[in-house]
Amino acid sequence: MSVVLETRGLTKAFGGLVAVNDVSFKLQKGELLALIGPNGAGKSTCFNMLMGQLKPTGGRVFLMGEDITGKSPRDIWRRGVGRTFQITATYASMTVIENVQMALLSHNRQVFRALPFAHRMHRARALELLGMVGMEAQAERHCAVLAYGDLKRLELAIALAHEPTLLLMDEPTAGMAPRERIALMQLTADIVRDQGVSVLFTEHDMDVVFAHAHRIMVLNRGELIADGSVDQIRNDPRVQEVYLGGGTVFKSEDEAADA
């Protein structure tokens, strides 16, 4: 297997507060890797450094072996990294399909064309992408009136527009109903399987994580305290300590029923 993403000693300090401290990990091709941790553990900071929104104070980030530390979000996106946001970011004044078309226009470097009609460009491909996330039927709807779950799916379609090798998803299911959460993660898992995309995601919902992640990393107070398979993490005493009081979360449903 080839390594898609690697960090070495990634560190971010905000003044005296070290939000992310010496984090090193590797993400293999086709892997669905979860980054979990309590509030304030440094997950989002970590993410923003990977995607270029924040510059690390120390350490390096490699994408397919290439050093991308401190590159701009635009640059990193061009190298084949897609992302979705914790709080959805879409173009509210456009229709669903136009949102996707915009990403396709950017991917094809047609942003500065002022003469052709944009609504005719890349329609078929945009519809295909919307089909992938099950939003085809809503293609012509106004983005501002979508339900939150649909916005999340739209964001996913946008993130897939440039056929990324790596997808970074910051709390992809935050703010969604339980049924929608499972559906969205199932969708993501399918995409990983079908397209060979690698995914790194952060998540609060342990059910989602344990059900879908191939591997889990646990971040606490900026430090990586565990990295392993679902079972390893479930039984790791240090991880349980971090999630004090949430004991049942770490047992499978059968065990929880027995207790």
């Binding site: 995607m51 701009s72 979000p73 635009r74 996106w77 061009r78 992302r83 946001f85 970011a89 879409t90 173009y91 509210a92 004044s93 456009m94 229709t95 136009e98 078309q101 915009m102 990403a103 226009l105 950017s106 991917h107 047609q110 942003v111 500065f112 064309r113 002022a114 003469l115 052709p116 009609f117 944009a118 609504h119 460009m121 709807r141 106004h142 983005c143 501002a144 009136v145 964001e155 946008i158 527009a161 440039h162």
Partner: protein, 620 residues
């Protein structure tokens, strides 16, 4: 040395009124998010009311009492304005309220003219403070010394009110998060009214206090407005110490400027502002404006679609009707129509920037007037043929827009707006004061079109083709990938940047493009009039365009053109009457209140309600 100190003291004394007006504006903006264009008018009212009261009230007590009462009276007027004009439109799209305050400016101007007449009023001297004091041999008016003492006292009182009292806590809380303050059970409506009244009272106080120095005249409102904007921006929006420091810097600079560099006084202030903002983008004491994605007020914009067959036919019919105008219209009608067409193009160029790009430029006249002056200067000084000069007008304006945009686009929101205004004023003052080249206040004359365009009808067709062509091109670009990118950058910069769109570059191009189109309008304008004067670069011209775009509807594609045609048409009809500003102002306020979505936006809603247009899904 003595002269130096004397000037320093004069500068400090002058800072008083400026600080009061600026802190009022800053307070109002902080809490209500209204950029109160009418703030200069309240300052002017303060001076006039103070003057009248001083005629009635005797002696020293009367003098100081009159100043205090003038402040209170203006505060009450401000309160009425807030309740009657602004309160009905708080839910309108952001910045829409400034249109209403612009209406207030016009109304106040004419009311002041009616009540106090057109002549400048000489302010009475303060009783007991008529003479001068000599400091190191230099005479300093006693009243200046009094102001020196009073201003810090007012500043301290204000500072105490804001930082130490319960009202102050509410005000500061509202500055940071209006919604939260509302959720905690504070009556926002009265908080807004109170702050607005306080801000206006401060402006009135400033106006009355400077009476013995500057008197009262009808140009005070705009004259102080630019200075106040500069002070607020240099000091940092919402910062009292910042406003004080900035007022002192500007006033002192002005006094020294008059002595040592008299030809540069107007420019100096803006140069300082630009320098400060280059180093500290949010002013000396300001904090970053958290604008955009979460601060949106009002409904989101609707998706736009290229015109369908029906609309195209309608446009074609409209253009055909315009083309047939010379067949039945008089010479005068054609001149009027030319004016309107040019103005519509100008408004459409600003609408492109404002509506699609979300970039609120307060200084769009820089490119309109800039283009006009480029052509006029070429004709006057280089005997350039009209065709070439006309071609170079948009190019010159576009280049100015590139330079100005490059600096301004480092900022967003209201800081961006103020900086664009500063540059427009900078350009204006350059033209105004560089008389040898630009003709200064006398303007440049005999800028006539080439012989083949010299007839009214010929020029009308020329203007028709280029204005309509320009407007259609602007609209077309809105539907192109570039137009999409511009809207994407406005809707969510985060997503746009994360999908490879260089939002700064997109905005830069849009700014230059809008500047070029405004320059085209300017080129058309100068050859239609045969002359150009500095007032085409003035703040009022920028405001005209801004008002028109909002009045027509920012969130609709045709808002700029419809607003432009409406505004210019009405203005041309009204200017024949003596008190046309009053009528115009009242009309603007009326439109603002009955049509908070702009003319086009509101008509669209009405049509949807009546079932004439298909209602947008899920939106009621």
């Amino acid at each position: 040395m003595g002269l130096f100190i004397a000037q320093l003291l004069t500068g400090l004394a002058n800072a008083g009124a400026l600080f009061m007006v600026a802190s009022g504006l800053s307070l109002i903006f902080g809490v209500t998010r209204i950029v109160n264009f009418a703030h200069g008018s309240f300052y002017m009212l303060g001076a006039y009311i103070g003057y009248t009261l001083m005629q009635v009230l005797p002696g020293a007590v009367g003098f100081w009492g009159a100043i205090l009462l003038a402040g209170i009276a203006v505060g009450v007027i401000g309160m009425l304005v807030e309740i009657l004009v602004l309160r009905p439109i708080y839910r309108a799209p952001e910045l829409f309220q400034l249109v209403a305050t612009f209406g207030v400016i016009l109304v106040v101007q004419d009311l002041a003219l009616m009540v106090w007449g057109p002549d400048d009023l000489l302010g009475p001297r303060a009783p007991g403070l008529r003479g001068v004091v000599r400091i190191m041999g230099e005479p300093i008016p006693k009243y200046d010394i009094a102001l020196l003492v009073i201003t810090p006292f007012v500043a301290l009182a204000l500072w105490y009110l804001i930082t130490k009292t319960r009202v102050g806590i509410l005000v500061r809380a509202a500055t940071q998060d209006r919604e939260m303050v509302g959720a905690l059970g504070v009556n926002q409506a009265w908080l807004f009214t109170g702050v607005f009244a306080l801000g206006c009272a401060l402006a009135g106080l400033g106006g009355a206090l400077q009476l013995p120095k500057g008197g009262a005249d009808l140009l005070m409102d705009f004259n102080i407005l630019t200075a106040v904007f500069v002070v607020v921006v240099i000091g940092g929006m919402g910062s009292l110490p910042g406003a004080y420091l900035a007022a002192v810097i500007i006033s002192v600079l002005n006094v020294f400027g008059v002595t040592y560099l008299p030809q540069s006084t107007l420019v100096l202030m803006f140069v300082v502002m630009v320098l400060v903002l280059m180093v500290r983008p949010y002013g000396l004491f300001g904090r970053e404006e958290v604008a955009g994605e979460h601060g949106q007020v009002g409904e989101p914009e609707r998706p736009i679609k290229p015109a369908g067959l029906q609309v195209r036919l309608l446009v074609a019919a409209g253009v055909a009707a315009l083309a047939a105008l010379p067949l039945f219209g008089s010479n005068f009608t054609q001149v009027l129509a030319t004016d309107i067409l040019i103005f519509c193009l100008f408004a459409a160029s600003l609408h492109f920037l404002l509506g699609l790009g979300g970039m609120v430029s307060f200084g769009h006249a820089a490119y309109f007037g800039g283009g006009a002056y480029v052509a006029a200067l070429l004709v006057t000084h280089a005997d350039t043929p009209m065709e070439l000069a006309f071609l170079l007008a948009p190019i010159g304006a576009g280049m100015a827009a590139i330079i100005i945009g490059w600096i301004c686009l480092r900022l967003t929101g209201v800081y961006f707006a103020m900086l664009t205004l500063a540059f427009a004023q900078l350009l204006w003052s350059l033209v105004f004061q560089w008389g040898e080249v630009t003709g200064g206040d006398d303007g440049l004359l005999s800028i006539w079109p080439a012989p083949w365009l010299s007839g009214t009808t010929a020029y009308y067709y020329f203007a028709l083709v280029l204005s309509v062509g320009g407007i259609l091109f602007l609209r077309h670009v809105a539907h192109s990938p570039f137009g999409y990118a511009l809207r994407a950058a406005r809707d969510s910069e985060r997503q746009a940047e994360a999908t490879g769109i260089d939002t700064r570059r997109v905005r830069m191009f849009a700014f230059a493009f809008a500047g070029m189109m405004a320059g085209l309008a300017g080129g058309l304008f100068v050859f239609s009039k045969g002359s150009i004067f500095p007032n085409e670069l003035e703040i009022t011209r920028s405001f005209d365009a801004l008002i028109v775009v909002f009045l027509g509807g920012v969130k609709t594609l045709s808002g700029g053109i419809v607003g432009g045609a409406f505004f210019k048409g009405v203005e041309d009809m009204l200017t024949r009457y003596e008190y046309w500003r009053l009528a115009m102002g009242l009309l603007i306020i009326f439109v603002v209140i009955v049509a908070p979505d702009g003319i086009v936006g509101t008509l669209r809603k009405l049509a949807e309600r009546a079932g004439l247009l298909r209602r947008a899904e899920d939106e009621t």
